[in-house]
């Protein structure tokens, strides 16, 4: 009698093995159609439902080389807006990473009065919807003269993101063995140097992940630039998309989708490049 060994998974095609893919594929179909439509409609002058009208055209992408043809750009180059968005996102990311890694280290390693209260306070702050703070934030920005300036919005956005960052970084610092820090102290390093030379390199995955995530949320941020920079002198891409969508009686969907695609493209590229780093943020931890 021969005993058949079970096939290792993936060893042979099986109809049953296909079922999960089918079900999941079906469920995610609306999303796939969504993205497909976005891509498709940016290359046709008009869409009727899901079918394009007219021939293939690059006209929707005219904002790249002919800013004057798009009234919402108000004579500015798309590159200036892209640059603003980039400055906004990168500044937010740097601020969040810097402050979170310092605060996270302190919360992970130092014993000081009120540490627990502070930790839970940070968590509450994180769960606070930023909309509820808009008016207070407006008053603060006005009084320190940063209203209607990119710098002001950067500070506000970073402030909203820091509580989350502090928790993430604290988690990463928690995984670094105490003995490494003791070793650094005995070797003669002070606190700051221990943090910079020993701890920071060991939480690099956390720094990368948090940095990327903050960059992405900064890049995607709409509400804060929209409200706190009304004059649009340092406009970002998210508010441009909104003005295309919301100003006229009739909306140029072709333009909207082209600009939208242009807007999300860097993020998509970033995600593909940095998937591994981003996934580690919830895995947590450092290989010792």
């Amino acid at each position: 009698m021969t005993v058949r060994e079970p096939m290792p998974s993936g060893g042979r095609f099986s109809v049953l093995g296909l079922a999960p893919y089918l079900v999941l594929g079906l469920v995610s179909l609306p999303l796939i159609i969504l993205f497909g439509w976005l891509l498709y409609s940016s290359f046709f002058s008009r869409m009727e439902g899901l079918t394009p009208i007219g021939g293939f055209t690059l006209d929707n992408w005219r904002f790249l080389w002919n800013p004057n043809s798009v009234q919402q750009l108000a004579g500015r180059s798309i590159w200036v807006l892209t640059f603003n968005t980039f400055i906004f996102a990168i500044s937010v990311a740097l601020l969040v990473v810097l402050i979170s890694s310092m605060a996270g280290y302190a919360l992970s390693r130092l014993a000081f009065p009120g540490r627990r209260t502070f930790l839970s306070g940070v968590l509450i702050l994180h769960s606070f919807p930023s909309v509820t703070l808009l008016i207070a934030t407006f008053i603060v920005l006005r009084s320190i003269g940063l209203f209607d300036q990119l710098l002001g919005v950067i500070l506000v956005k970073a402030a909203f993101e820091i509580p989350f960052g502090v928790w993430i970084m604290k988690g990463f610092f928690d995984t670094v063995p105490w003995e490494l820090e003791m070793a650094a102290l005995v070797d003669g390093a002070g606190r700051i140097r221990t943090w910079w030379r020993v701890m920071m390199p060991l939480v690099k995955p956390g720094i990368l992940a948090l940095g990327l995530l903050s960059f992405v949320t900064g890049w995607n941020e709409f509400l804060l630039p929209f409200i706190f920079m009304p004059s649009g002198s340092q406009e970002t891409l998210s508010t441009l998309v909104r003005s295309i969508l919301g100003e006229g009686r009739f909306v140029d969907y072709g333009l909207l989708t082209a600009v939208g695609l242009y807007y999300v493209a860097p993020i998509l590229v970033l995600f593909v490049l940095a998937q591994d780093q981003l996934m580690r943020i919830y895995g947590g931890g450092v290989k010792g």
């Binding site: 003791m182 070793a183 102290l185 005995v186 070797d187 060991l202």
Partner: protein, 361 residues
């Protein structure tokens, strides 16, 4: 550097981890802090290192009080149980780190000292590797080199061998001992392994529940343990204990353990106290018991189990309610269940107070 601990105490909340330890370490001496896990030995070491601040008491380095000083101001090198090598740095950077943070050491001097320290522990071939690419023994050596690179006055080792496999542990024991003598550095090492402490240290401090139970040379601790805890903790296989009635006789002491039919007399030296309590613990090491033909010797018993170990055989002998461990020659050919007699070496008996458990004789 001579090191002195005076009434050193550390409590964590309500828990008293170290309770008034007094210890004096001579310059160039190698001492072991020995005790079961959780006894406070590592806490003591970390206070000497400056990682923990003592709750009370003093630490003196060469007569200078250091207990309030930052670790970097104490001139110490330390090897951790997990080695605590910086994973993101090469061996060279690891060894060089203490020098890099020290002021007044230029690049040339630094690389000279890295070379020197790495040659001392024979890792000079591995300088460009990272810790993850090293074996346990190599990591251990690098940790030693890092601790020695800045030429500390005191070397602290926290369970330095416990992460190595048995064979390597044996080799490193000798190597560390030799290295310590060659460098001549005052050293303190923590271990829970009594054999490690006995073989490596000049003097051993036995710690139990935060208390210093004994502090003496390995020979003295083994031959004349000052209390029952030390007698039991030091020596493998463990010392046998039995409750005995004591009787002071002329020029000698009589011991009786009626249940086992034990009744013997031992001569005592002039150091013996005049009055002894009537009840005490009699301790005898397995190698000081001898298996003799039945109906001879001091006690009768029956072989319970035999464990050959090559060099000798470890025999458990059941006698009444009591079980004795005996070291027998490799040629011993008794079998389980055999009736035997046990002879006690009169010169090698230990007597401890029944309540206070301190040494009487």
């Amino acid at each position: 550097m001579q090191v002195e601990l005076q009434q050193l105490t550390k409590s964590f909340g309500d828990v008293l981890a170290v309770d008034g330890i007094d210890l004096e370490i001579k310059s160039g001496e190698f001492i072991a802090l020995l005790g079961p896990s959780g006894c406070g030995k590592t806490t003591t070491l970390l206070m000497v290192a400056g990682i923990y601040r003592p709750t009370s008491g003093r630490i003196l380095f060469g007569g200078r009080r250091v207990e309030q000083l930052h670790p970097r101001e104490r001139g110490i090198g330390m090897v951790f149980q997990s080695y605590a090598l910086y994973p993101h740095m090469t061996v060279e950077q690891n060894i060089g780190f203490p020098l890099e943070v020290q002021r007044g050491i230029d690049r040339a001097e630094r690389s000279r000292r890295i070379q020197e320290a790495s040659e001392l522990v024979r890792v000079d071939e591995l300088l460009s590797r990272r810790p993850a690419q090293l074996s346990g023994g190599q990591q251990q050596r690098v940790a030693l080199a890092r601790a020695l690179a800045k030429r500390p006055e005191v070397l602290l080792l926290d369970e330095p061998l416990s992460n190595l496999d048995a064979r390597l542990r044996h080799d490193m024991r000798g190597e560390i001992k030799r290295l310590q003598k060659d460098v001549g550095i005052t050293s303190v090492f923590v271990t829970h392994d009594q054999q490690e402490a006995l073989t490596m240290a000049d003097r051993v401090a036995v710690i139990n529940r935060g208390h210093l139970e004994a502090y003496d040379t390995p020979e003295t601790l083994y031959d004349r343990p000052p209390n029952r805890f030390v007698a039991e903790f030091i020596g493998d296989p463990k010392m046998n204990f039995m409750p005995v009635e004591v009787e002071r006789r002329n020029g000698s002491v009589g011991f009786r353990y009626a249940d086992l039919g034990l009744d013997l007399e031992a001569p005592v030296g002039s150091t013996a106290p005049d009055s002894l309590p009537s009840n005490a613990w009699l301790g005898i090491r397995p190698e000081d018991l001898r298996i003799v033909p039945p109906d001879t010797g001091d006690m009768a018993g029956e072989i319970y189990i035999i464990e050959p170990s090559g060099r000798e055989k470890l025999v458990d002998v059941q006698s009444g309610e009591q079980r004795f461990r005996v070291v027998a020659e490799p040629g011993f050919d008794g079998r389980i269940g055999d009736a035997v007699g046990l002879h006690l070496d009169r010169e090698r008996m230990h007597l401890f107070d029944r309540e206070k458990e301190t040494r009487l004789l």
